[in-house]
């Protein structure tokens, strides 16, 4: 008998494999950017449902607000004005967790059970188990998780796992006035996307397509883009997202070897964590990673 309402596929930093006998539906959220009016109903519905309220900020000279994902804004609309061959387009993309099939955050997470991937595809953070190290941030190819200033724990979109567990759509998908956010089985979402792409091609968007990047094993949040050949037009949506090679390497073939070889370093790091607390560790390492990424 399962001890939870959603079957678990894998847990961070946990060697005991989860039971895999049951087969449940793989779900997905499809964001049809061509129908999105940037109204932010999804942002509001997300905050309201999840009982979080971000700061009342300032206007920064753009429509975006809040300006970036935060521990309390798990989704934000990103607006970009594009002008090509005299044709103006206002591309508006809902940003947030992509719920990767191969989640970099989970792979990077050192805290047992802080990140869970459910069998339906949802990647959820369990703040009770989070040590606030911030590795999930480094591990995420989409730069999504945020560490809370209040409790030093990582937060991001849960895909409304509490709603999905009782067979309801996520709050953002339910609210979306124009149906730009659809929710259902991943298979149905791909079919729906195909129809939308046909319609867009008929309207002259020859490069319309689905964004379901293979580099992270596909995602459970997908986009229909009018310009699927240029995802970066949409406020820097990664063209070929993939898990940092380092995380991948560690978790892949070299893992058993590395476990032995790096035991010393690991112990050192653990003591560092115990002595200095999670935030400093995370910041320190983040900085180093940033430096390296810039190289």
């Amino acid at each position: 008998m399962a001890l939870q309402s959603l079957d678990i596929k894998q847990r961070s930093a946990t060697t005991t494999p989860s039971p895999q006998a049951r087969q449940t539906i793989e779900i997905a959220k499809l964001i049809d950017v061509s129908a999105c009016i940037g109204c932010k109903a999804c942002q509001v519905a997300c905050m309201e449902w999840n009982d979080v309220r971000d700061e009342v900020g300032n206007c920064h000279g753009v429509y975006d607000n809040p300006m970036d994902l935060t521990e309390k804004s798990w989704t934000v609309m990103r607006f970009s004005e594009i002008e090509e061959q005299g044709k103006l387009e206002w591309l508006i993309r809902k940003d947030g967790c992509m719920h990767c099939a191969d989640p970099g955050c989970l792979k990077a997470c050192p805290a047992p059970g802080a990140i869970i991937q459910y069998a339906n595809g949802i990647v959820d953070f369990h703040q009770e188990n989070c040590i606030g190290c911030g590795y999930c941030v480094s591990g995420c190819p989409f730069n999504v998780p945020r560490i809370s200033k209040t409790d030093s724990k990582a937060y991001k979109c849960t895909l409304c796992s509490d709603r999905v567990a009782v067979n309801q759509a996520p709050a953002c998908a339910k609210a979306c006035p124009t149906g730009a956010i659809q929710f259902g089985s991943k298979e149905d979402m791909k079919d729906y996307a195909a129809k939308r792409i046909t319609d867009l091609k008929e309207r002259g968007y020859e490069k319309a397509g689905l964004y379901d990047p293979a580099g992270v094993g596909g995602t459970h949040v997908m986009y229909v883009l009018h310009h699927a050949d240029k995802p970066d037009l949409y406020s820097g949506l990664p063209v070929n997202p993939s898990i940092s090679p380092l995380v991948a390497l560690w978790k892949g073939a070299t893992k058993p070897l590395a476990t032995l070889a790096l035991a010393g370093v690991a112990l050192g790091s653990l003591f560092h964590y115990v002595m200095k607390g999670p935030n400093e560790v995370s910041k320190e390492i983040e900085k180093e990673i940033e430096k390296e990424d810039a190289q």
Binding site: I8, A45, E48, P112, S138, K255, T259, L270, I285
Partner: protein, 195 residues
């Protein structure tokens, strides 16, 4: 794949927990996982209509308690009514945020008066408020009411009062407002439909 020292360190750090913490005695059994409990399970559901624009979306209002005598209910969540043929469960950013309007820090809770020249509000009772307003109204109506115009046509008009009637009020409240204002002789009235 090339690795420098720092990357090597990063691999260790990023990966260490995955095995190391667990291997060193942090029991994976402790890592049970459960989603947040569905908070509406036993909440009371009421059907209403969003008060903002004229799409008039159907909303479901969820409140605590079951309306039993000793349970004070509090609205905890509002979402779209999927049965409503117009919004079909969807809501815009205004409608989806209705709970914060109902529970706005600026909701008025009791009658207040600001007296001539004063810099402050003063809390008063409903009785006092109604009596003082009615006294103003009657004095003004009795003084300025026009029964006839100069041509002798009966006009029965109270020319020194104006009123704005809310387009956010229900039809029933709006009708009653119009009925009472006209009975008092008010002709200067208007609503948001104008502007």
């Amino acid at each position: 794949m090339q690795m420098n020292r720092r990357q090597f360190f990063k691999v260790c750090s990023a990966g260490l927990g995955g095995s190391s913490i667990a291997m060193m005695g942090f029991s994976p059994n402790a890592a049970l996982a459960e989603v947040r409990t569905f908070k509406l399970a036993r909440a009371t559901e009421t059907r209403n209509i969003c008060p903002y624009c004229s799409v008039s979306c159907g909303v479901l209002i969820y409140s605590t308690g079951d309306k039993s005598k000793n349970s004070q209910s509090e609205i905890i969540h509002i979402e779209g009514d999927p049965d409503n043929p117009v919004n079909r469960g969807t809501l815009c950013p205004k409608g989806a945020g209705l709970r914060d309007m109902v529970q706005s820090a600026n909701r008025l809770k009791w009658p207040e008066v600001r007296e001539p020249g004063s810099k402050e509000w003063k809390r008063i009772s409903w009785n006092e408020a109604i009596e003082r307003i009615a006294a103003h109204m009657k004095a003004d109506r009795d003084k300025n009411f026009q029964a006839q115009n100069k041509d002798g046509v009966t006009i029965n008009r109270w020319p020194t009062i104006g009123a704005l009637v809310s387009s956010a009020a229900s039809n029933e409240a709006g009708y009653l407002t119009v009925k009472t204002l006209r009975a008092l002789g008010v002709t200067q009235l208007d609503t948001q439909a104008r502007i």
